[in-house]
Each structure stands twice: as C-alpha cells, then as structure tokens.
Amino acid sequence: MQQPAIPLFEACELLFSYNRGQSLALDGVNTRIEQGSFVAIIGPNASGKSTFACHCNALLFPTGGAFYVLGQASTAESENVLETRQRVGLVFQNPDNQTLMGIVEEDLAFGLCNLGLPASEIEQRISEALCIVGMEEFSTSSTQRLSAGQKQKVALAAVLAMRPSCLVLDEATAMIDPASRREILDVLSCLCREQGMTIILITHNMSEAQLADHVLVLGQGRVVLEGSPAEVFSHANLLLELGLELPTPDWLQHELVQAGAPPVTDAPTHTDPSRTQAESILCLEDVSYVYDVGTPFATEALHKVTLNIRRGETLVLMGKPGSGKSTLLQLLNGLLRPTQGRVLLHSQDIWQQRRLILGVRNTVGLVFQYPEHQLFEATVGSDIAFGPRMMGLEPDEIEERVKRALGFVGLSPDLAERSPRSLSTGQKRLVAIAGVMAMEPEVLVLDEPTAGLDPRTRREILASLQAYRQQLNGALVIATHTFEYVAALAKRIVVLDAGSVVRDG
C-alpha cells in the first residue's frame, strides 16, 4: 500500500447547518481519513453521518470550519468541485431512486457521458464496472425488473465506472437482502485491498462496521469515538447510551446474560405445550396463489401453504426476496384472494361473503414496508385516526384509540397535533404503525418493520409490538430477512422458499 503524505479528507472544526445556523447538523467535526483506508461511520439517526458524506463528495460545503480534500479546502467556488465529485463516488440508501435511465448500461453511461469521454472508452468502462459487481448478464435489462439488491449493485457499478479513488456508501446496504449485502461488502473489501480504494461505509449494522479498519462514531454532529473496531466496540456502555448496539453475537449474548438466561446457542422451545392448545385465530389451508391467472404470464407465488396463527404468539416469517412472503401477508388480510385453498378467520372462510372482507381487514392489521411513505394527513393524530374513522367509530372512541395507539408505540400524546413531516424517520415509522394499531386488530402483520432504522428505533419498535401483543392478547406476524434481533423475540419461525413452507418451528 502507498504511503500518502496528505490525508484524502481532513475535517477541522467542521460546522454545517441546513437552516442558516438555527441548528447544526455538524457541530465541530475533527477527523482525518487516510487514502486507501476502510472507514466505517456509525451513529444514531440524525447524527450527521449523511451530511458528512455529502461533504466528501462536494455536494455540501462547510458553513464553518474547514474541510480539505487532498489538502485543498473544499468550497462552492473552488474549481475542482467536479473533479472531487468524480474522485469520490457516492452510493445512497434507496435502490429505487438511484437509477436515472431505465436500462442498466445506459444508467452507467449517464455519468460517463457527463464526463465527456469518448464512446469506446464508455463501452469499455461499462463492461468493466458491471463485471466487478457481477452484473454483466444484466447489461441490457430494464432496471425496473431487478431486485433491490441488484439495483443497488447497478448503482455501485455506475459509480465505479467513473473510476473514483474513494467510495462513500450512505447506508447503501440498509434496504437490501442479506445475500446481496454480503456480495456488495465482498466487492468493497476487495476494492480496498487490491486497488487501494478508500472506502467510507456509513451503516447501522454493527457487524458491517467490524469489517472496517477504522470506525468513526458520530453523535449529535460530533465525533464521539474513533479507533479500530476492537477499540470502539470495547466502549459498550457508551455505544448503548448513544442508542447503538454491539455487533450481533456479542450483543445477543449480552442481552441474554442480562435477561438471566445462560448464553447458549440451542434453538428456543422445540415443544411448547401452550402453543398447541392456544386458540387459533387465523388459518391458511392449502393456499396457493397465482399471479396473472389465465394469461401466459401466470406465475405461482405460493404453493399449498398451510399455516396456523394462534392467539398470543409471535410468528416470524423468513425467506429470500421472491419467496412469496409479501404475497402471503396480503392473503392474510384479504387484500389478495387465494387461487386455491381457504383463509379462515375464527374458523370462518373470509371469502365466503364478499362484504366480510372489510371486517377482516379490521381484525388483521397489515403494516407494509416503509409505512411512513403512506402518511397523508396534516397532523399525526388525524393520520392515526384514519383507520378507526373508516371503521365508523364514535368520535370519543376514536380519540381514545389514538391516545392508546400513541401509548403503544411510546410516543407522547402531544405529538398528535404535530405534522408528520416534522418528525424523524423513526418517529414517522412509529406513527404509521400506530395508525394500524389504532384499529386494534387481533392479528398484527408487519413487513420488515425495522428496515433502514438505527438500533435504538429498532428496539423501540420491537418493544412496542410486544407490548401491543400482550395487551390485546393477539398475535404478531413479522416478515423479515434479518435474523439477528428477531431471534430474540420470536417463539416460532416459519421459513418460506420458492412459495412453500420449508420449515416451521
């Protein structure tokens, strides 16, 4: 590895404010990032991580203090803005909002055309970049047909094609499945080791942060901790105080020890007598679902699935993308009608009478992925009240329900008057979940309820879900592809693969 005299980035008392000094997103950051290093930045939501990333790419410029790129101060007026943007590639969180052109190779070409490169060079760089991320065969595919993980690989390739010397990933792995995540991380470490590329990985996943050789912990716009992963993660209490957590195995054991359980690894409760006796609420009987029935595109998403959901249980549904998870969830509350088989609610077939369906949706509440994108009312309170209002409840009852729902998710009742848009992402998510809880369904079904959130908010959500289940003596169904925290919560895990249940226990 080379021995650079000047650091790639250097921040000196870096200040940044989005609103002319009313509040500071970065509040005196001091740090150096050396060329060729692999740095992980962790910190709770709104700690200034993304703001810092945007400084690296000359998308934002310091309000106060200074930020140096290879020894040169970065300002809006400096001539090397485009040079910096080319040198530093940025990959963002949301896979859907990163492709500008609908075809993979053209999306890669977009940036290269902006650089004014000759056509032959563009051609060569595209195939090179796609090869690095293992997406060669998709070069002429429509980006829309790709999975989230594949889209994110294309976004990475689009940045790599511009031949940056530094990559900044702003929670780029937060919204994708574990397999793609691992593949992307492998590519990153390879680029760092073999080509000496500087990697800055912003993440909420502590195991990912462990891959780095240097970890930077941000909190409220300042560097709180800095050092090798071993050093940083030895400050367990400080991290937990910040709302972060320890890398999984340690964390799980930590929690288990605190709960008084011996730190053993064997699976929880093989035979739970209470389970078989508990009353069944919702039941799928040999349910199959086929999309586009009767057309040449007919595809079977689910094949003869039988599933029994009992009162008081927490069921975790796992499976790769495309395994039929979200189809299954929509069958549970009657948004989709099974092609074959029956869905029974309290032993009654929900599709027997059409008008029963709306009632089913009140008994089985479904929270989709990223539910905060569906908030629409002017205030938090009226948004939460939407469900109860649609149920035709009395105004007093509605008000009571809104209060109760805010209580379940641990938000203060004062929040009801605020606009949802003034909240943080984590709070918005809680409000959206409260919106379904307010309907007080017996079965609460959630699709990836904690995706893209920081550890503290993740814990808050899981705690409020548990509280809800206990108070109503209902059931929880959670679909996810992350093992870690769900293992601590679930009594029963169902694994789906290619539309069939492959494990239940």
Binding site: L59, L82, R85, Q86, G89, L90, F92, N94, D96, N97, Q98, L100, M101, G102, I103, E106, A109, F110, G111, C113, N114, G116, L117, P118, A119, I122, T140, S141, S142, Q144, A158, V159, M162, Y291, D292, T295, P296, F297, Q330, N333, L335, L358, R361, N362, G365, L366, F368, P371, H373, Q374, L375, F376, E377, F386, G387, M390, M391, G435, V436, M439
Partner: protein, 275 residues
C-alpha cells in the same frame, strides 16, 4: 400485477424499429398524430391502423404486451365510448322510454374508442422501442432550436426522459399505497362522486409527497454523477440517419398525405365507397 405496466417503458430489442434513429421515431410519431387528427373516413382509419399494426409487428411487440399497456386505460376508453353512445342524438336504434341509443351515438362511441386506442398505441411505440438515452438525445435535438429563446434544451430533454422513465415506478407506487390504505380500511369504490373523490386523498397525497422527495433524491444522484447542464456531454451510441430512417419517414409522410387527401375528397363530396 401493476409491475408489468408497460406504458412509458422501454422494451429492449434489436428490430428494425429499435434500430431507427430516435429523431426519426419522434418525428414519425408527431406526423402520425397529425394523421390521426385528420382521420375521418373508414378508409383513413384503416390506413392509420395499418401503420400502427405494421410498426408493432416489425418491433415485435406481442399482443399481450399491447394488452397490458391498454388494460389500464380500459376504463377511460369505455367511458369515452359510453358518452358517445348515450349522449349523441339521432336515428334511434334502441328506445327505452325517454332514453334512446342512436346509430350516430354508436358510431361516435366506436370512433372515439378507436381514436384513443390508436393514439395510445402509436405514441407508446416511441417509448417501447427507444432506449432512454437515445430518447434523451432525440428530444434534445428538437428542442435545441428553441435555445435562442432561452429554453434550456438539454435540461428539458433530460427532465422529460426521466419523467417518462419514472411513469411505471409511479404506477407501482400508487398500487402499493392503495393497498396500504385499503389495509387501513379505505374503500375506493363506495359512495357518490364526492365520497369517491374524497377517498382518493389518502392515495394521492402521499403519492405527491413521495414524488417530491424522489425528485430531491434524484437531483442529488445526478449531481454526484457529475451532471451539469452546461458541460459538453458525449453522445453515446447515437445512431446516424440511415436509409431505413428515410424510408420510415417517407412512409409516414405518405400516410399523412393520404389521410388529408381522403378528407379533402370527402369534403368535396366526391362519391366513393369509403368516404
């Protein structure tokens, strides 16, 4: 599934139509729209229909794809036809009290539906067969003369291209939001007109908010990929005008003249089988 919405989407391929210069296709579609506007007689409808059919076949757009594009708009098409059928007075075909369906109404309804279908098919041919980057340079080419009037041609072309490209994404999102609100008990199909319009607020409000957020994020992505409207961009894989392009344009021009000629002949009252 709404994921398969084909309107505005590019369907990769390597047919004669796909290989045409984007400028040819844009011009041809504009000419086609002129022809459609002038269409009046059965013969000219057949001619315009034939043009669309031949292009679809040449571009290997399968009937099922066409159907998926149209099915979404089926409601609008039916409504237009129905308006004609119910509202146009004339020689009655069916009489039910004060209510009647006339032959003229039927004819009008059929014509309205046919026009609309041809309009959708003809114009989606452009996006089906032109990749976004080519479409971009094609649109930019036609906007460039307006630069003197202070129109930002390149930026505008890019905006249009990205907007077209995100149509399917918006459909998908609308579908997702509709489902989520349905899960919260929203019912989009009950009540009178006002109740129904009200029921759409939970659908459109988040859609608009999300669209703005998306625009924000996309602009950051564009900037981070060194986009700046002023720089000289490379024209990558932009095809040159080839004989096929001139033939396509000539055929389309022929269509326009043919349709106009039929209309003029019809107006002159020259008797004939079709007009």
């Amino acid at each position: 599934m709404l994921k398969d919405i084909t309107i505005g989407q590019y369907l990769p391929g390597n047919t004669v139509i796909h290989r045409l210069d984007a400028r040819t296709k844009i011009l041809a579609v504009v000419l086609f729209l002129v022809a459609l506007l002038c269409t009046q007689s059965l013969a000219s409808y057949l001619a315009v229909g034939l043009w669309v059919l031949v292009s679809l076949v040449l571009a290997r757009i399968t009937p099922s794809l066409v159907w998926r594009g149209l099915s979404l708009l089926l409601g609008i098409i039916c409504m237009m036809a129905l308006f004609g059928v119910l509202l146009i007075p004339g020689t009655p075909w069916v009489q039910m009290g004060s209510f009647s369906i006339s032959y003229e109404g039927l004819a009008f309804g059929a014509v309205a539906a046919a026009r609309f279908i041809l309009l959708i098919l003809g114009s989606s041919l452009l996006t089906y067969t032109t990749s976004p980057l080519r479409l971009l340079s094609g649109i930019a080419f036609f906007l460039r003369p307006f630069e003197r009037l202070g129109l930002p041609a390149n930026e505008l072309a890019l905006t249009m291209t990205i907007a077209i490209g995100f149509l399917p994404v918006m459909f998908e999102e609308a579908n997702r939001i509709a489902k989520a609100q349905a899960a919260r008990g929203a019912d989009f199909s009950r009540g009178g007109l006002i109740a129904r319009a009200r029921a759409l607020v939970p659908l459109f409000a988040p859609l608009v908010i999300n669209a703005f957020n998306r625009a924000d994020e996309l602009s950051v992505v564009m900037e981070s990929r060194c986009y700046s409207g002023t720089l000289q961009r490379t024209e990558w894989r932009t095809p040159k005008m080839k004989p096929a392009d001139y033939i396509a344009l000539a055929l389309t021009l022929l269509l326009v003249f043919g349709v106009i000629a039929l209309r003029v002949l019809g107006a002159l009252g020259i008797p004939g089988m079709f007009w």
